[in-house]
Amino acid sequence: MTLIGWSQILSFFALLLVLTKPLGAYLFRVFEGDTQPLPRVLGPVERVLLRLTGAADRREQTWLEYSGALLAFSVVGMVILYGLQRAQHLLPLNPQGLGAVGPELAFNTAASFVANTNWQSYAGESTMSYLTQMVGLAWQNFVSAAAGLGVALALARGFTRRPGPEGAKTLGNFWVDVTRATLYVLLPVSFVVALFFVSQGMLQNFAPYHELTTLEGAKQTLAMGPVASQEVIKMLGTNGGGFFNANSAHPFENPTPLTNLVQMLLIFVIPAALTYTYGKMAGDTKQGWVLFSAMSLLFFAGVAAAYAAESQPNAAVASAAVTQDGNMEGKEVRYGVPASALFATVTTDASCGAVNSMHDSFNPLGGLVPLVNMQLGEVIFGGVGAGLYGILIMVVLAVFIAGLMVGRTPEYLGKKIESREMKLAMLYVLIFPLFILGLSAVAAVIPQGVSSLNNAGPHGLTELLYAFTSGTANNGSAFAGLNANTPFWNISLGLAMLGGRFLMIVPALAIAGSMVGKKVVPVGPGTFPTNGALFTGLLVSVVLIVGALTFFPALSLGPIVEHFLAGAGKVY
């Protein structure tokens, strides 16, 4: 580890810190303010969009109606995306004449993008037409992020709304939330940053692939496409699905160290800002900074571990007697070790899943960090919206444990946490490992599972564990040696992604529904404060204990044992 490496990491975090409050305040105004930004310009557009959608009445919805709207939106989106892939050979903007995507792969990809996961069993440049990428995949990049944001807002409203005399039952309107997220937040940022990305060398064209003769006389074909417009929302929406197979390692998809920095900021900026928005909604910004601090502590632990591990030489490369300045297998020279370790941490803390280096080639403990980040439930800033609702479930657990310790009914923001909320929170917590460990166990013992592995020995187990973790956590990054484009993997991962998204959103919204109507109890001497350092520590402990207890046995058979075997020079 070097000083300059750490200054990259710290300058990234400093920029994030600077952006959190202004963007958080902006988001508050967009979703909760009496007037929205630029009312003369965007106000009429918002009204037209809602009229076209058929939701111009902006009627407040109960948790069931809100969930129903989200599920309907996702189902229809998935059907459209599936159809687009199956019919892409008949549609325009396909200069390479790419054929229809096969049914299992199209199902996997549709599930993946609707669930904000963007796991990719395909290589973009050889599978998806420009139309599929732009109209199908990039579209879902926008709206799946907007939908996640909606769920976070609904849960936040559940905790923070003060019921009037006749009580409160509603959590906002899903269509208004999605429309506003798209119009006021995602689209304007995407447009501006896309142009910056092009200025740095990112592609933005509809030309056929460029055939040329290299300086030595060989043929080279450069894949082309509308990359920059998709790239921004891939990061900003914590989607992570690359235009090209190599994702943000591809020089056309992430050309310079500067675009690399901006991409990482785009991943974290909305999840970080939402903690401030949440604090404003709670009427106490400290409530938001507590979440931000807990997330930051876990982020720094992860990046320090990943950077330290990747600064070590690669054991297999050591046999060539070369000077290793860290592990450079699967990394780009322009980023080197620190910017690769930082990117890997950021992309798996948030449920983004874009990569600028190949996690499969990381040293064992370097690869452990992304895996653990995801297994902690994507709450370290997390996905757009998903990070906030995930950490709020952890808050419910932490408050409950604190309540047990002081012997009082647990309460949060003046509202009592009771057995119904605890049952729903536990459902949320348990669905996650059920999918990951259950499916990994199946894949590890059947030929359809293990025949797709690229690496042998414990690293092979890590490959499949990583796949189901990534799918269920809606991350989408991969130990990419795994050949996931088989019927077994496409279908099992498709189900893991849908389960990890929607089976967890529904309990979260149910908690919102049961919290929103609860009476607010005034703060008393026995109230456990949730806006200070003590609670931050408790929250971090709960996140770590829940994740570690669940996954430590599996991790010890994968990356941890591999670490010792690599140290002993063992290869498979």
Partner: protein, 214 residues
């Protein structure tokens, strides 16, 4: 239930047109006006005006008179329509064999190279299209390149120094050299290397001139 599905369908159409059609078309239109060179792939030409590659995408070099890039796992090597890393882990026999073989080849072809071999010469990049090498990995090859071209190593090293890109703002990324741009500069300064086997696209006389940017 049915009414929710109808609204969902309408919401999908509205957002699809807005974010999937209008937005990318607007970005493309503005980008093609403001940054046409970058939007079309940052193509570089040789002194004859022939497009020989992209400034951002690595390409294979095997002649001794050219600096050679990192090994590539993209297709058969530097296939810019099939980007990929090797995805081999640190306990992989395949990786161990590959780097051992690659290091042996490099030592054979660079018998007079000074100092230890930098690891980026034997490791594949994440994309398989990495256009860069570390400055150390370029300098390590300089004696071979100079000898193949019949010029003094000091002159080659001096040219290399002018092609070292530093960290952005002094902090971001790593120092690096773009291999294609360096090789083009070598051709401009010292002429095309004499090529032992398989001449490509016709004989080309060396000439002075800058890299043509379309």
């Amino acid at each position: 239930m049915v009414s929710t599905l109808v609204i969902a369908l309408r919401a999908c159409v509205v957002t699809l047109v807005l974010t999937g059609v209008l937005y990318p078309l607007a970005v493309t239109g503005v980008a093609q006006v403001l940054f046409p060179h970058e939007a079309r792939g940052s193509l570089v030409k040789d002194e004859q005006g022939r497009v020989v590659g992209s400034a951002l995408i690595g390409q294979g070099f095997s002649q001794p008179g050219y600096f050679q890039p990192r090994p590539s796992a993209a297709g058969a090597g530097y296939d810019a329509a099939a980007s990929s890393g090797s995805n081999l882990g640190p306990t992989s026999q395949k990786l161990k064999d590959r780097v051992t073989e690659e290091a042996a080849r490099l030592r054979r072809e660079n018998p007079d190279a000074q100092g230890p071999m930098p690891a980026d010469l034997v490791t594949t990049s994440a994309s398989g299209l990495d256009p860069h090498l570390s400055p150390e990995a370029v300098r390590w090859q300089a004696v071979r390149v100079a000898r193949a071209r019949g010029v003094a190593a000091e002159r080659v090293l001096a040219l290399v120094d002018t092609y070292v890109e530093g960290r952005t703002l002094g902090v971001l990324g790593e120092p690096r050299v773009n291999v294609l741009l360096l090789n083009l500069a070598m051709d401009r300064q010292f002429g095309r290397p004499s090529r032992p086997p398989s001449p490509p696209m016709g004989a080309i006389a060396p000439a002075a001139g800058g890299i043509g940017l379309p």
